[in-house]
């Protein structure tokens, strides 16, 4: 099995194919701290892509409440349990082995889902399981269920806590769905790294459903093949005349009323996403230990106990929360760009007054003030009844 570099793990790992680096890689940052769980993203996706027969249970975008929620139910707990079973007490990080470029969080010394499958006899490409109908059925189960009840809370960590986790396909650099497909029906696009299922080659074996650790490919009984989040690729390609055929962000990202999402390129130094993930390290991958190098990154919630967050986002959590809580001027500026436009921001500039986003050709597409001016309403316009 070839060895491929995984910067999130700070080491090389086993993957069935050689690294095929796309020209640029789709990526997004979700700021968990800002999410209000309104599910507008979920419905935006649903009304765009999954409103037809056989897709009733499909939520390519879903928002689940942690720690108890999950769609499909307990997906992450089950994966973590499988990995722990494969490598008891061995799923650890060496945080002393840090390197800014190749190992920003240290080195992961445990097993990825690919390595765990190899250890178990390599009968399939990645460790996984097939969720049942019942597990898919209740996407919002345990909504807003906190871990316990206690009076009063204060930062840095609350004793009573929950948070919303917004999930789409991670369009991984090393997708387990792609590795799992015996048909080679799943491919990663060279132009933007978006992972798609070829609807003509798929034979509905559900191997992708079984082996994607994030459980984002789903089997559609009305066509008997699997489907998944397509990162709204027609929008990313700029096929919409509404914005002069310029690249747009995905439906879930543009519809977010809490403005918690920002789309960009993980490997383009000019992209605000690159800045947040690779330079400022304020946004972290979801379960990097799975080994797929996921490309949706999260600013972790400040109030949640650190061991839980570290299990979910790796050892970069403390630093990320620290930087988010005490933001630099640049970070403060980039945070203003979240949800500021439905056009895709390729590069940005932060001045004393404004955060400015540019398109691929360097044209200004959005300008947001760093600090909103304070406007006092004159007495005749006060909303007092």
């Amino acid at each position: 099995m070839p060895k491929v570099p995984n910067w999130q793990l700070g080491r090389e790992m086993d993957y069935p194919y050689e690294r095929g680096k796309p020209q640029r890689q789709f990526a997004a940052v979700f700021n968990i701290n800002r999410c209000i769980g309104c599910q507008t993203c979920t419905m935006a996706c649903k009304s765009a892509w999954t409103f037809s027969e056989g897709q009733e249970f499909m939520w390519w975008n879903n928002v689940e409440s942690k720690p108890y929620g999950g769609y499909p139910q307990f997906w992450d707990v089950k994966l973590l349990a499988l990995l722990d079973e494969a490598n008891p007490d061995g799923q650890v990080w060496d945080t002393s082995a840090k390197d800014a470029q190749n190992a920003p969080y240290g080195r992961y010394d445990g097993l990825t889902i690919f390595e765990a499958a190899k250890k178990a006899g390599a009968r399939q490409q990645a460790l996984g399981y097939l969720p049942s109908d019942k597990e898919w059925r209740a996407p919002n189960i345990y909504e807003d269920t906190s871990v316990s009840w206690s009076q009063g809370s204060s930062l840095p960590e609350h004793s009573t806590w929950f948070f919303y986790l917004q999930r789409i396909c991670n369009h991984c650099s090393y997708p387990a769905c792609l590795a799992a497909c015996p048909r080679k029906a799943i491919y990663k696009r060279a132009e933007d790294g978006i992972v798609l299922i070829d609807q003509k080659r798929c034979r509905g074996y559900k191997k992708c459903v079984e082996q994607c650790p994030y459980k984002k490919p789903m089997f559609r009984s009305a066509t008997r093949v699997s489907e998944k989040c397509i990162a709204c690729y027609p929008r990313v390609e700029g096929k919409d005349a509404l914005v002069d055929n310029e690249p747009m962000v995905t439906r879930c990202i543009s519809a977010c009323v809490g403005k918690i999402r920002l789309q960009g390129w993980i490997d383009d130094e000019k992209s605000p996403v690159y800045y947040l993930v690779r330079k400022e390290k304020v946004a972290l991958p979801l379960y990097p230990q799975f080994g797929t190098e996921p490309n949706v990154y999260y600013i972790p919630p400040r109030w949640v106990p650190r061991p839980y967050l570290e299990q979910m986002f790796g050892p970069g959590v403390e630093d990320a929360i620290d930087r988010y809580s005490n933001p630099s001027e640049e970070l403060l500026g980039v945070l203003q760009l979240f949800g500021s436009t439905q056009r895709l921001i390729f590069s940005y500039e932060i001045t004393d007054e404004a955060a400015i986003g540019f398109d691929e050709k360097g044209r200004e597409i959005v300008r947001v003030p760093i600090e909103e001016p304070v406007i006092v309403r004159p007495p005749q316009h006060l909303n007092i009844t």
Binding site: S52, R123, P182, R183
Partner: protein
């Protein structure tokens, strides 16, 4: 103790030991006696019509059944299967068509793919494609020697018998307000791009495929194989039928009096078997158009019986030698 008693015990022990050793070796190497023999499936020529919709028709008494041993697929990922230990294959041929009948044990009839965890029962026949440079690997062939595959699928059979199952039929208690653009293929991508699995009008429960290595399996441009599968009392009987005369690009050619190779595979849906997770055989000889053999015991079975008898005889001779030697030594 009397001398004869000791020798008799020695001989018994030796025989017992030999049997144990043989059984042990067979178990350790997962060898099955039947797989070491040369099996030939003969498509007997018939004059009476072979019903295309009844795999239990009396005409099949004229076929020479051959039991083909199956084993789990352990060559490529995903590995697994092996729930069916054997499939009974029969073949007939007439002036126009060739017919194959597969029969195997399966406790459950798995026809639906509606649930996220459900899989279909299926069976397949594989032949070396015409024009190959060598005999292809029975594992999906290779680049210079392709294979033709006919796969019967339980859900396709149900589509034909009962119609393409809708979600409302599968989940009668589920409620949906509205499906916008309900019959617009655009919103059923698999259907729109012509994926054979997504099509709602089925002509045959059998899909004709070609492959030239792992991951290359592709539905054939021309679909000419008909068939029917029926489950009864814990057994499947699946009939495959195709015209003898086909065009140049319409799949493998069969000729009366000719021969080729054939391999078989069976999937048990209730055990999650699909794709490479299957019970599979190696290539077997296929003769087309010979007369029915007398008796009903195939050549392969005769070879097996003769081999077993020879082995037993050899063991007995050895045991007798031991017995006689032991007696001789004890003679005054």
């Amino acid at each position: 103790m009397a001398w004869w008693a000791t020798s008799y015990r020695k001989a018994t022990l030796l025989l017992f030991g030999l049997v144990l050793l043989a059984a042990g070796l067979l178990t350790v190497f997962d060898l099955r006696l039947a797989s070491s023999q040369a099996i030939t499936l003969t498509a007997n020529q018939v004059i009476e019509p072979v019903p295309l919709d009844d795999p239990f028709a009396a005409v099949w008494n004229q076929a020479s059944p051959v039991e083909i041993p199956l084993s789990a697929q352990e060559v490529t990922q995903p590995m697994g299967g092996g729930s069916a230990r054997a499939v009974t294959a029969r073949a007939l041929v007439d002036e126009k068509r060739i017919y194959f009948l597969l029969e195997w044990e399966d406790a459950t009839e798995d026809l639906s793919l509606a649930s996220q965890e459900a899989f279909r029962d299926a069976a397949a026949i594989e032949f070396p494609s015409d024009g190959g440079q060598t005999l292809p690997s029975f594992c999906m062939g290779q680049t210079n020697a392709h294979v033709d595959i006919w796969q019967w699928k339980g859900d396709w059979q149900a589509d034909i018998d009962r119609g393409f199952a809708s979600v409302a039929e599968t989940y009668p208690n589920a409620h949906v307000d509205l499906y916008p653009f309900r019959d617009d293929k655009t919103f059923y991508p698999g259907w729109a791009v012509g994926n054979p699995f997504s099509q709602r009008e089925r002509v045959s429960p059998v899909e004709s495929l070609v492959a030239g290595g792992f991951g290359t399996l592709t539905s054939a441009d021309v679909q000419r194989v008909a068939g029917v599968g029926r489950w009864q009392d814990g057994r499947w009987r699946v009939l495959f039928v195709r015209e003898l005369a086909v065009g140049d690009d319409d799949g493998v050619r069969f000729s009366l009096g000719g021969s080729t190779n054939v391999a078989f595979a069976v999937w048990d849906g209730s055990r999650g078997e699909r794709d490479g997770q299957k019970s599979v055989s190696q290539f077997t000889d296929l003769r087309i158009g010979r007369e029915a053999e007398s008796g009903g015991i195939s050549t392969g079975t005769w070879i097996l019986i003769i081999a077993l008898l020879s082995g037993l005889l050899a063991a007995l001779v050895a045991a007798s030698g031991w017995f006689i030697l032991g007696r001789g030594r004890r003679s005054p």
